[in-house]
């Protein structure tokens, strides 16, 4: 059952489905119902209509509106206030807090890829065999991902607080004398970002492992056996066969990870108590919500949101244009 391969194969044409299907997806789409004349508009409307309506009203329309609202000095009330042109945008891009939150997001993107990717790949490759309790391991590894970001943030806050569980433990072990001497995991400006990366790794590395394990199901076993019979070592088999075949899955995970890191909000807000200390851990999404909810600067916040969107979109398009395409070719070569 190569479901995951099918799925990831389909994912390669996230935008502009006109590309050739990648290795592993069946070329069934191109040949369906060639003989039928398109006399089924009614059916199509009934099937697609409801989804189209809901999606347009609650996703597309708000995004379009966001572009419009960001040109106004809107303070959250019923009317949008004065038209201020690009003034909101120039002020956001001059705002030191926004710039530093942009850097924070960039740091989170890179660290998530660099730390979670190799870890998850190594674990998935090692676990890709007949293990006893495999399903149990899989479930446990996936638990952090299933928890809400809010719960995870609150939980780690309890553990990492100045007077939290970790510091009490360290005092008990005699590493520190009082909470005041202990490490401020969440209050030390140099540390807090790394602590956040750690918690993010804890929460999301499971998703990468599960995705990779699912992708590995699609790697034909006889191929690996043949290579082993030819005398290839375990590592050579992984390097030359398994990892290249896992290409599409790795790519999709990277894509999801990058987009998720750029849009990080819930957990960062709970873990750091809204960006403390001194906005050190502000992310762009936190900036948007903070300026809207506490500052009541809705136009300003929406302009920041549009910039956040532009950054996500650029990152996504660049990734698909360069990484995904090149990976595609290598994956196809590797699959031959």
């Amino acid at each position: 059952m190569t479901v995951s391969r099918e799925a990831s194969g389909g994912d390669t044409d996230l935008v502009g489905g006109a590309q050739a299907p990648s290795a592993g997806s069946r070329p069934a789409s191109a040949k369906t119902s060639q003989k039928r004349r398109p006399r089924h508009w009614g059916e199509i409307a009934i099937f697609v209509g409801p989804a189209l309506l809901v999606f347009s009203a609650f996703v597309i329309l708000p995004v379009v509106l966001a572009g419009y609202v960001s040109f106004f000095n809107w303070d959250g009330g019923g009317d949008l206030g004065n038209f201020v042109g690009f003034d909101n945008y120039t002020r956001v891009l001059d705002d030191g807090v926004f710039i530093s939150s942009m850097k924070n997001n960039a740091f989170i993107v890179v660290m998530s890829l660099v730390i979670q990717g190799p870890f998850a790949l190594g674990i998935a490759l090692l676990m890709n065999r007949k293990l006893r309790f495999r399903a149990g391991f899989r479930t446990m590894i996936f638990v952090p991902y299933v928890l809400s970001e809010v719960v995870a943030g609150a939980m780690w806050r309890l553990i990492l607080d100045q007077r939290g569980i970790l510091n009490s433990l360290m005092i008990q072990w005699g590493i520190f004398d009082t909470p005041a001497d202990a490490i401020g995991w969440l209050s030390d400006q140099k540390l807090v970002m790394w602590v956040m990366i750690f918690v993010l790794t804890w929460k999301y590395v499971g998703l990468a492992i599960i995705l990779f394990l699912a992708g590995l199901q699609g790697v034909p076993e006889d191929l690996l056996e043949a290579a082993q019979i030819d005398g290839a070592s375990w590592w050579q088999v992984q390097r030359r066969i398994t990892i290249p075949l896992l290409g599409p899955t790795i790519r999709v995970w990277m894509f999801l990870s990058i987009i998720g890191s750029i849009q990080l909000f819930d957990m960062a807000r709970l873990l750091t108590n809204n960006g403390a200390p001194f906005d050190t851990t502000f992310t762009m999404a936190m900036f948007v919500i903070d300026r809207a909810v506490t500052g009541r600067q809705y136009g300003y916040a929406t302009a920041a949101a549009v910039i956040l969107f532009a950054i996500s979109l650029t990152a996504a398009l660049l990734f698909m244009r360069f990484v995904m395409r090149r990976d595609n070719e290598t994956a196809e070569k590797g699959a031959v």
Binding site: M1, V3, E6, G9, D11, L14, V15, G17, R26, S29, T32, W41, E43, I44, F47, P50, A51, L52, V54, F55, F58, V59, I60, P62, V63, L65, I123, L126, R129, A135, G136, T139, M140, P144, L147, S148, V150, V151, A154, M155, R157, L158, I159, I165, Q172, W202, V205, W235, F265, D266, A285, V288, I289, V293, Y298, A301, T302, L308, F309, A316
Partner: protein
């Protein structure tokens, strides 16, 4: 990209049998390590909620001795907790049902009908993958105000369904495409139109995929924070994640009580997922037989 000669690398030139068993032992070691890393903090939170604040500060890593039920019973005796639990459940279920139905209905023509503009329509849906909820959140609130929906479950369900549709359609489309044409032709010979084919064959064959997107939608809704914060904060439909954030600031001195609240808030998601995971696996094997 040169091939690695393992015999020079590993030094002792072990036989292949030994090598494989080495990897086997490493696999168990790594699996246990990864599972432990994931689960230990969660278990710690759950069992520490059976202790008092005094016990917690005296020895943070200790086991409950004696077991204290008061934290859990205090949370479970709180009607506000049950109201949030109820709201979260209803909203997550409604979101799941909505996403699965609308998603599979939309995926069917997008995968199996030939009509001009099909790829454009698919791209239109997938573009939604790139729209973060943060961008839409504030204007979305304006739209919901127009429709008088803030503070109601619909105000949360409809946008959540909408935002979950892109990923659902992206996942379902290849599954629907993968159904062999022979089946469709056989159904046509038996006199079933494509609408009957959809209900009689397609829904059954794509069940595992439907379960997958359903689980994603349910967990996504159960865990949502930003949209509820704007739409239902402070209303009768306040969901659990909002409650967690509130509870933590309200009872910041009462660690043991927060632990109990957190444990109870995460339990349903974990149980639901564990149950569903088996279903996904059995669904997959069922699809092979299908």
């Amino acid at each position: 990209m040169t091939a690695i000669d393992t015999r020079t690398e590993s030094g002792s030139a072990p036989g292949r049998k030994k090598k494989l068993s080495d990897v086997g032992a490493a696999a168990y070691f790594v699996a246990i390590l990864a599972a432990g890393f994931s689960i230990v903090p969660v278990l710690y939170i759950m069992y520490s909620a059976f202790r008092t604040n005094g016990q917690l500060s005296a020895s943070p890593a200790g086991l409950p001795d004696p077991f204290v039920w008061s934290n859990y019973s205090q949370v479970l005796g709180d009607s506000a907790f049950w109201q949030m639990m109820f709201a979260s459940t209803i909203i997550a279920l409604a979101t799941t049902i909505g996403v699965v139905f609308l998603g599979v209905m939309a995926a069917y023509p997008l995968a199996r009908y030939k009509f001009p503009g099909r790829e454009g329509l698919y791209t239109y849906f997938t573009a939604g993958l790139l729209f973060p909820i943060t961008v839409a959140a504030l204007p979305l609130y304006l739209i919901l105000l127009e429709l008088k929906l803030p503070g109601t479950p619909w105000g949360l369900v409809l946008p959540q369904v909408a935002f979950q549709l892109p990923v659902t359609i992206v996942i379902l489309r290849p599954f629907v495409q993968a159904i062999p044409r022979e089946l469709e032709e056989a159904a046509a010979i038996d006199g079933a139109g494509r609408v009957q084919f959809f209900f009689k064959i397609l829904l059954r064959l794509t069940t595992p995929a439907l379960v997958t997107v359903g689980v994603l939608a349910f967990v996504g809704s159960w865990n949502a924070y930003l949209l509820p914060l704007l739409v239902v904060q402070g209303s009768d439909w306040t969901t659990l994640p909002l409650g967690v954030a509130r509870f933590q600031s309200d009872h910041s001195q009462d660690t043991a009580l927060i632990l109990a609240f957190l444990s109870l808030a995460m339990l349903p998601a974990i149980l639901f997922f564990t149950m569903m995971e088996r279903k996904i696996v059995s669904g997959l094997s069922g699809a092979v037989k299908g």
